[in-house]
């Protein structure tokens, strides 16, 4: 059955390519906007930094957290999602997300196959960088988001189901959300602000992760077996690469090497540092010892949480956001046992909780003094903007959860979501891929 799926996928891919081959039409845009080499260098580099967050960053971050029998299967998720979503993005995803707006709901098909997406700047998507650079930077975001979700169903999801789910999710959840918030869609029109993806990336993946964890059920032996991370240095290597890459994730979202970029980077780094320190202190007081995984988790929580706010706030708001992230995510994870779902790698506790916190913090702390293209938050006397942010939290979480649920049911009908119990006992590496990580 899996082989059959492979054949079908292969054929599909072949047809798509065949139908689309040819050089894209020369861009019809007026070349009045001039490419700035410094801004372009920064956005290209930022795209590379986001890539490194995903592979090898997130791949190893997650890979180190699972048991050694599942490390390849876990790393495989990041690599395959990167590859498949990138291809889909070129073929159709970018057009759905950022193509000319259709009623605030979705982008049109005008840019399918990157048709018309050339090297001249697009007036709203980075007026000083090639349009393709914007498209490429956004591609990395589209790829990393479903890869985040994969942490929730690690160690038990069938490979073919994982690929199918991620591909469909990127088209049916990610692309619309990106359009609503960044592509000129209805939430953008309402004034919702999400600098680098607190809602589009983190809430959406956190909500999807929750649904995945519940629908797939717990890992065998959850709660009784020893399931400690098999290689924490690997996770810490991943953490370092995530931290490094996040400068591009948030800094690159300024779409140029400008003041917003540097202030976003300062906010990002501040929140990460504060998240690490606060999580460390929380654990130290609560459990008696500080842990290395705690520091790493706190840093990632800080990074995820500050993401939507980073371009609109100063360093002190970032300090507070980092502190809140460290505390809230720590307790969210400690208490998750009470809710009884098995979110293997804590996507909900870190990205879900962090994303919500970050979007609300944006509504609180955003300041036009920092970024004139932003808005003033509640603290600066603007409750209506805060309201829009609350609305965005709810809409994104619900939309992602519902569509995720439907997709899972659909796929469960086609191919099973979960590996067989013996396969799970053996581990994904041998059962899904005929490989062992270490020998």
């Amino acid at each position: 059955m899996s082989t059959r799926l492979a054949v079908v996928l292969g054929a599909g891919l072949g047809m798509l390519c065949a139908s689309l081959v040819g050089v894209p039409e020369a861009s019809a845009q007026v070349a009045a906007l001039k490419v700035d080499t410094g801004d372009t260098a920064w956005v290209l580099m930022s795209s590379a930094l986001v890539l490194v967050m995903l592979v090898p960053g997130l791949a190893l971050f997650y890979g180190g957290l699972v048991r050694s029998k599942n490390v390849l299967g876990t790393i495989m998720q990041s690599f395959m999602i990167l590859s498949v979503v990138s291809l889909l993005w070129i073929l159709i995803g970018y057009s759905l997300a950022f193509g000319p707006d259709k009623g605030g709901v979705i982008g049109g098909l005008d840019w399918v196959g990157l048709n018309g997406v050339g090297v001249d700047p697009h007036p709203t998507y980075g007026p000083t960088i090639p349009h393709q650079a914007f498209m490429f930077f956004q591609m990395m975001f589209a790829a990393i988001t479903p890869a985040l979700i994969a942490g929730a169903f690690a160690e038990r999801k069938r490979f073919s189901a994982m690929v199918t789910f991620s591909a469909l999710w990127s088209l049916f959840v990610y692309a619309p959300l990106a359009h609503w918030i960044w592509g000129g869609g209805w939430l953008a029109k309402l004034g919702a602000l999400d600098f680098a993806g607190g809602a589009v990336v983190h809430i959406s993946s956190g909500a999807a992760a929750l649904v995945c964890a519940i629908v797939l059920g717990k890992r065998r032996g959850y709660g009784t077996d020893y399931m400690a991370p098999h290689n924490l240095p690997m996770t810490l290597l991943g953490t370092g690469l995530l931290w490094f890459g996040w400068f591009g994730f948030n800094g690159g979202s300024a779409l140029g090497a400008n003041g917003v970029a540097i202030s976003a980077i300062v906010a990002t780094h501040t929140a990460a540092s504060m998240g690490a320190v606060v999580w460390c202190l929380a654990e130290w007081m609560h459990r008696g010892k500080p842990t290395v995984l705690g520091v790493a988790s706190g840093a990632v929580a800080g990074l995820a949480t500050v993401t939507p706010a980073s371009g609109y706030i100063g360093p002190f708001a970032a300090l507070l956001i980092g502190a809140a992230a460290g505390l809230a995510c720590y307790f969210a994870i400690v208490w998750k046992g009470r809710f009884g779902y098995d979110d293997s790698l804590d996507v909900v506790g870190i990205h879900g909780v962090g994303g919500v916190l970050g979007i609300l913090a944006t509504g609180l702390f955003a300041s036009k003094a920092i970024n004139s293209g932003g808005a003033d938050g509640l603290l600066y006397g603007n409750p209506s903007f805060f309201g829009v942010q609350v609305l965005m939290v709810v809409v994104v979480a619900v939309f992602s959860a519902v569509v995720t649920f439907l997709l899972l049911k659909l796929i469960d009908g086609m191919t099973k979501l979960r590996v067989e119990p013996e396969e799970e006992a053996t581990g994904l590496d041998l059962s899904q891929h005929n490989e062992r990580a270490y020998s």
């Binding site: 053996t426 041998l430 005929n434 490989e435 062992r436």
Partner: protein, 112 residues
């Protein structure tokens, strides 16, 4: 005294250990081993190159017990380590001439 050596499936270790504790066994020594037998191994593929691995991961438990307890230990291990499928493993029982507890120098059954 006897030395009882059981080769079992790794995921059964905790269950067997707990059952032994319950019948009053206070110590044991465990080694990770690779077993070869009727149970089949697995295939691996690396860039098209296939390998068949015939060895299967197993765990060896060694327990030294007074003669009086041998049968209970045997029964306990057999019961808890059993899944019924090929590869459940073996138990070997051997004479143990002498046992010493290094810390105290005690010998015999009290050393266990």
């Amino acid at each position: 005294m006897k030395l009882i050596e059981a080769i079992i499936k790794p995921f059964k270790l905790d269950e067997v250990k707990d059952a032994l504790l319950e019948i009053g066994i206070q110590g044991m020594t465990v080694t990770e081993v690779k077993g070869f037998g009727r149970q089949k191994g697995h295939k691996e593929t690396y860039r098209g190159q296939e390998y068949t691995i015939e060895f299967v991961p197993k765990v060896k438990i060694e327990v030294a017990v007074p003669d009086s307890q041998v049968q209970r230990v045997l029964d306990t291990i057999t019961r808890t380590a059993k899944t019924g499928s090929i590869g459940d493993g073996k138990i070997f029982v051997r004479d143990l001439g002498m046992a010493v507890r290094i810390r105290t120098g005690e010998t015999g059954d009290t050393a266990l």
